[in-house]
């Protein structure tokens, strides 16, 4: 009898297990990979992720890509999807801050002001990528303050050698030592990166706060699992994993 019950429970579990596809901003790669494993272990669903720049994910969803959940690194790439009726209204699940990173072996960039020095090779994300947008907002804020001169951002932008398609590609260029500095999220300084990259302090009055919206895709293939995933991300367990990877709480 207990055996039959166990079998029934297993079958019921299997019947509810759904393959779940989550589109997530590249900066969420490590945190969501761990979060997804914990979610699968608890629910029995099979979650697969596609990590890319939020603007890529948005373009793909608009192009008809199948996904169940989308997590973006800014509202600018998420809200148009809501207006187009493609995804549910957003739930904010995390926040992030910018940092400046430089190769550990190079001393060329020690402070924020060094970014404007001629010959410094800076890599940013493209302006359509959330972190690229936040980085340019930060430069505008610095210009407005006048601390480093009104033309600071113009001088910095002259040093940009590449505008990359997502934040992990930006970080990679510093990790490989090809760039002297880059603007990424605080969470991108992962344990894997800390060996080769050091953080350069950014004055907090210029720093920008990235806000991450999340929601289920309308007409999702796995609507139940999608809803459960959104709830899990917002739950204390999900939040604990996000904090572990350096994300700030939504409020």
């Amino acid at each position: 009898m207990p055996r039959t019950l166990m079998l029934a429970a297993l079958l019921a579990g299997a019947a509810h297990a759904e393959p779940l596809t989550v589109f997530a901003a590249a900066s969420l790669t490590d945190a969501f990979t761990e979060l997804g494993r914990a979610f699968d272990a608890r629910t029995g669903h099979r979650t697969t992720f596609q990590f890319a720049g939020s603007q890529t994910l948005r373009a793909q969803l608009e192009g008809g890509a199948r996904a169940d959940v989308i997590a973006s690194a800014n509202a600018a790439q998420y809200d148009p999807l809501v207006r187009a009726g493609l995804v549910e209204p957003a739930r904010t699940f995390a926040r992030n801050r910018l940092i400046l990173i430089a190769p550990r072996r190079s001393a060329r960039v020690q402070t924020l002001a060094d970014l404007a020095r001629p010959g410094v090779r800076l890599v940013l994300a493209d302006r359509s990528v959330p972190v690229g947008d936040y980085a340019r907002r930060m430069l505008s804020a610095i210009d407005a303050s006048g601390t480093y001169g009104r033309d600071f951002s113009a001088r910095v932008l002259r040093n940009v050698v590449s505008e990359e398609p997502n934040v992990r590609q930006v970080a990679l260029k510093v990790q490989l030592g090809e760039a002297d500095a880059a603007v990424v999220y605080a969470t991108d300084l992962t344990p894997a990166l800390k060996g080769s990259v050091r953080a350069v302090a950014l004055p907090s009055r210029f720093n920008q706060t990235a806000t991450y919206p999340l929601g289920a895709v309308r007409n999702a293939g796995a609507p139940n699992a999608a809803r459960q995933f959104v709830q899990y991300v917002l739950s204390p367990d999900g939040q604990r994993i996000l904090r572990k990877w350096g994300f700030l709480s939504p409020q």
Partner: protein, 266 residues
Amino acid sequence: MTGRSAPPAVLLAFAALLTVFLLLPTAVLLLRGLTPAFLPALASPAVLDALRVSLSTTLCTLAVTLLFGTPVAYLLARHRFPGRALLDTTLDLPVVLPPVVAGVALLLTFGRQGLLGAPLTLAGISVAFSPLAVVLAQLFTSAPFYIRAAKIGFSAIDRDIEAAALIDGATRRRAFRHVTWPLAFPFLLEGLVLAWARALGEFGATILFAGSLQGRTRTITLSIYAALESDLAPALVLSAVMVIVAFTLLLVVRLVTARRQDTDHA
């Protein structure tokens, strides 16, 4: 002799299906790209920059390919030496290697932290993120196409004609310039056109090794990729341009091949 009779309907049906599959997306792309907004979009800085970067880098790539590829192809076609098979295989490797792997390899070799990074930096040369990196990425992925075609060209020439020229008192150099080169030329041109098409379409190695910066390293393909995520119009215009260029290049190859076969049979 088969092929003179009317082709079977089933073969025609397969051919038609495959043709529609290939033509339909291309036609849709052209229809979306070639709107009245085509010319204004073509004149936009992003599109002009991409065209300029692609044109200048691919022309450099072609020049280097011609300069170094021709002797190598001649060597492989005309001489037997130890390690020839190895050299032949190595030169073909980029044809089957994924371009992004080529990008990693180039970065680990010519990057600042790469194998040759320190001496290059001392010499004041910084390769990554420069138009030079775009050229190297294109060279790596496209030169084998030229070398293959040129090798076939040099092998196809009747050695007796060259021998006759030498007997008539021509020096080796003059025999090459006036006999070998003209006879091989259609093959070389075909190889060059194929290499150019491949260089124009290069994406994976370029974005990894050269980065993507408008007006400097952002080629047509990188520009299409970047534009797709913000403003569709330039992406469609550049895509339409690529379709037209690709078709023209293929047409040139066909015409060259046709001329070559005519002269072969003459």
